[in-house]
Symmetry: C2
Subunit: 417 residues, 2 copies
């Protein structure tokens, strides 16, 4: 069978499954989530054996240690995937809930009711756990899903697909509600991106180049974020110790993730009292790349170049700039930021409210770490990723963001006059 035929059949069967799945009960969906979780545990030895084949191949191909780390599926990964599915089973089902009901003067009752989007295509790299995590969120939100992982994880993903299929077969959920693409042909991605009659949404997860490729080639709407260049601004009236703790947490707690701080902005009149907090970061192994003014008072800092202000290091490196005031801080963020996450540390009511209102990012915080931009941390439950584009969803995407609303109208014979 040609790749074209395979992809077209995948898309068509996903669309049919989506129609059925949209009407499945929450209980049936939860049963399926738990059945898949059980299969993961039952077949953990098999999953690890298949993962070992990918790892062997990866070593042969000279993949980086970081890549191999992301690819590795151990007992803890399997336990985390199973626990994730159980957690999703416990979350509230958005489908069928209403965003409001009102009565029109003519007596019509109008409700906005949540419905699944339909078919979601996930295109991702390396981490095999995305296969299970994404499948679980799509299933619970009533969407059929087509999962296309990287060829470097093909044996792991095929093993996970078997767990999914065996789990679903014990439930009323159609088997094609979750499909893992099992061919590694490079054309698959391009072909998937053209199935705009069947697929309603594409979510790419991976590096910036993968995401840009998907955006450039998709005929289907894409939810994505390119990068997280997150800022903390330490204002004139900041509690310096609080500002130090927040900056330290935002930079050091987990530097490799998208909601870690990359650039620290400090008010010019706060910098002298705040300097020990920057030294504290440096002592924890953070390389400080400062503006010229900072380098004069902190000679150990490296002079930042223009590129540093755009950089998403995802590492123990921090760009630091001294700014004149909140306007300069917000102007810097508007110019170099990525609309991901920005925090201000301040004791001034007016500055706090201005920052919250004027900064154009998916999550804006006062006196809290940027690391809170996360579906779980913000109370949305598990998340599918973080969107930095504004259409449909802006910020972390939980179950609700994987649905849309239709209007349900109950009448008693009304006609339009």
């Amino acid at each position: 069978m040609s790749v074209e035929t395979i992809v077209s059949q995948l898309a068509k069967s996903a669309k049919n499954a989506a129609m059925e799945l949209a009407c499945c009960s929450t209980a049936d969906k939860n049963q399926a989530l738990k059945a898949i979780a059980a299969k993961l545990t039952d077949k953990s030895e098999y999953i690890k054996t298949q993962n070992a084949r990918d790892l062997e191949e990866a070593r042969k191909n000279g993949l980086s240690d970081a890549m191999i780390d992301r690819l590795t599926v151990g007992d803890d990964t399997i336990a985390a995937m199973a626990a994730g599915l159980e957690e999703v089973a416990g979350l509230q089902d958005p489908v069928g809930s209403s965003d409001g009901t009102w009565i029109r003067p003519n007596g019509l009752e109008v409700s906005r009711v949540r419905i699944p989007l339909g078919v979601i295509g996930i295109i991702y790299e390396s981490r095999p756990n995305v296969t299970i995590d994404a499948a679980g969120l799509c299933l619970k939100s009533g969407n059929a899903v087509i999962l296309r992982g990287g060829s470097e994880a093909i044996h792991s993903n095929r093993a996970l697909a078997e767990c999914i299929a065996e789990g679903l077969s014990e439930t009323p959920i159609p088997k094609t509600a979750i499909q893992v693409v099992s061919v590694t042909d490079r054309d698959v991605v391009n072909l998937l991106l053209k199935q705009d009659e069947e697929i309603d949404l594409i979510i790419p997860r991976g590096g910036e180049s993968l995401i840009r490729f998907v955006v450039q080639n998709s005929k289907i709407p894409v939810l994505k974020h390119y990068k997280g260049v997150c800022h903390v601004y330490v204002d004139l009236t900041a509690d310096v110790r609080m500002a130090g703790d927040i900056s330290f947490n935002a930079k050091v707690q987990r530097p490799g993730v998208c909601n870690a701080m990359e650039t620290l902005l400090v008010h010019k009149e706060t910098i002298s009292s705040f300097l020990p907090e920057i030294t504290r970061m440096a002592d924890a192994g953070v390389e400080i790349r400062g503006c010229e003014q900072l380098c004069q008072i902190l000679p150990s800092a490296i002079t930042a170049s223009e590129e540093d202000w755009y950089a998403e290091y995802q590492d123990l490196i921090c760009a630091v700039k001294i700014v004149d005031d909140i306007d300069a801080a917000m102007a810097h963020i508007a110019r170099y930021g990525s609309k991901h996450t920005e925090a201000i540390v301040t004791s001034d009511y007016g500055c706090a409210e201005r920052f919250l209102k004027e900064v154009d990012s998916s999550v804006v915080l006062v006196n809290a770490s940027t690391r809170f931009n996360d579906g779980g941390q913000l109370g949305l439950g598990a998340e599918m990723g973080i969107s930095t584009s504004k259409l449909h969803a802006f910020g972390p995407m939980g179950l609700k963001e994987l649905t849309t609303t239709k209007f349900v109208v109950r009448g008693s014979g009304q006609v339009r006059v």
Copy 2:
């Protein structure tokens, strides 16, 4: 100046204006809406003179009467545009309102706050009133807008642009918040669709070919509907007179619009008592194109072809099909429908609820006319159009649908553990 430069400058100045506009007060925006409305009234003679130039050109080019009708701007059109702006000024401003606030266990206060999308590009044909209607909705929702009307309406649109600019100049709203493209170069549309760094959303309004062109060529998310093939299903237990009134209203009250009924489905056991209602439509000038079964009992009906079930007539023509039951009706809708608007007329609770739940359309109704799929009629206020794709907005798009949400987090020093 090259067209490339013109379009790029338009997009850049729109983006700058959007940043300012996002922070303008509701009072300032309302003042601007009223100032533009006043200019329309003041300059009505000038607008009509400019419109006359377009009409003369249109006649010379042999445009159809329907096209010329859509292009014509009379005193009533101008009054309606001004009244529309006043109405939008009276609507609630979605910007800054919250979709919910909650407290996390660690004390963080999380809110989802409505913000504008940014820059919206509107690409439309013929009707010059779209220039004013779309500008008003974008302004009130805090979005900068670039308006690209058809070359056939260029003089009218330039005159309207002058009213907008003069109106805005009396207010604190940046003048580039509303920009009307004043060059008619055909490349403009293609170039606009590539400005994905500056423009956040494209809304095409016009015929299906314009919309398909935009979707195929846009690098920017598009909100659109291709067509409205709306159905009314008259169930076994329908009140026949109510079903007749609803069908008549859905077909005859305004046949040229997208929420008019195109196909009528009738339960096989209801058809004999319902036949007089079909005759009533025929008597009102509706051409009936029936399935074979219907043509046997209503010899005046024309036999429908397969294409008729897909057709959006936008005219006094109605396709009529006799179906075995609600399942057959819903299967027909799933196959031939456009996800726009579908209604059932029934007295049976179970059938009503099944139809509302299972039919995958932006508006589903029980015992009411399809003509209610309209932002005003459903209580959203004025609308920008009706979306039949599910991302971001599904159904009529009011002011709220021209916004998105960001997360606003208020803390007291929280860090992630």
